[in-house]
């Protein structure tokens, strides 16, 4: 039972490079979320999706893009990496509106 799987676990990027953080879930959940967590700052919502083909901005969407072509996958794209995007990124999913999130184990990204 894999749950929410994020890859890679760690990544170092140079300023200006691009990359995609992968997130997939095998629980057939409709709702998926991307958060970033900076030290002492809790979790900030980047983007979320309530179903395939639908995405919405969260609190801190600038510098990121997402897509939701299937129920299972919700990749997060960084086009021009900046040091301010150094963070731990968590993907999460939930089956329906009023239920807890299931989190992946996170991707630690460093931009230098």
């Amino acid at each position: 039972n894999a749950g929410v799987t994020q890859t890679p676990k760690f990544r170092i990027l140079k300023i200006g490079q691009s990359m995609t953080l992968q997130c997939t879930q095998d629980m057939n959940h409709n709702y998926m979320y991307w958060y970033r967590q900076d030290p002492g700052m809790g979790l900030k919502l980047i983007y979320y999706s309530v179903g395939a083909g639908i995405t919405d901005k969260g609190e801190v969407p600038n510098g990121y893009n997402v897509s939701r072509s299937t129920t299972e996958d919700f990749p997060l794209r960084l086009e021009l990496a900046a040091p301010s995007q150094t963070s731990v990124y968590f993907c999460a999913s939930t089956p329906q509106g009023n239920s807890p999130l299931h989190f992946g184990n996170g991707t630690r990204l460093t931009v230098t």
Binding site: G40, G42, N105
Partner: protein
């Protein structure tokens, strides 16, 4: 602007102590409040609170919501070193299930 504020931000206690963690919120379209525990990796779910005044309990942990005063508390009795973690409070909104988190309380339990 929506706010979820947790206090204290950091807390150090000794095994056996009782602790109370606080979460206050100001959000539009409030639906539910959730508590998570985060050790080294992903947050894990503890409680979801939707109605005022109804205590949720799991072992030594309990939580309650006050929708009039817009806050929730998480109590941990007879703390153990395994309770050391960051405790996160989150508020779920009605519109599109936007979930906003507080900064967290870092609890350290010393032997």
């Amino acid at each position: 602007e929506d706010k979820v504020v947790q206090s204290p931000l950091s807390l150090v206690v000794h095994e056996g102590d009782t602790v109370t963690l606080n979460c206050s919120y100001e959000v539009t379209n409030f639906r539910s409040l959730l508590w998570y525990k985060q050790e080294k990796k992903a947050p894990t779910f503890l409680f979801m609170l939707t109605s005022s005044g109804i205590e949720k309990k799991s072992g030594r942990l309990s939580s309650i919501l006050d929708k009039k005063e817009l806050f929730s508390i998480l109590n941990i009795t007879a703390t153990q070193t395994g309770d050391s973690a960051i405790y996160l409070c989150a508020v779920l909104k009605w519109n599109n299930n936007d979930m906003r988190f507080g900064a967290g309380t870092r609890l350290t339990v010393k032997p």
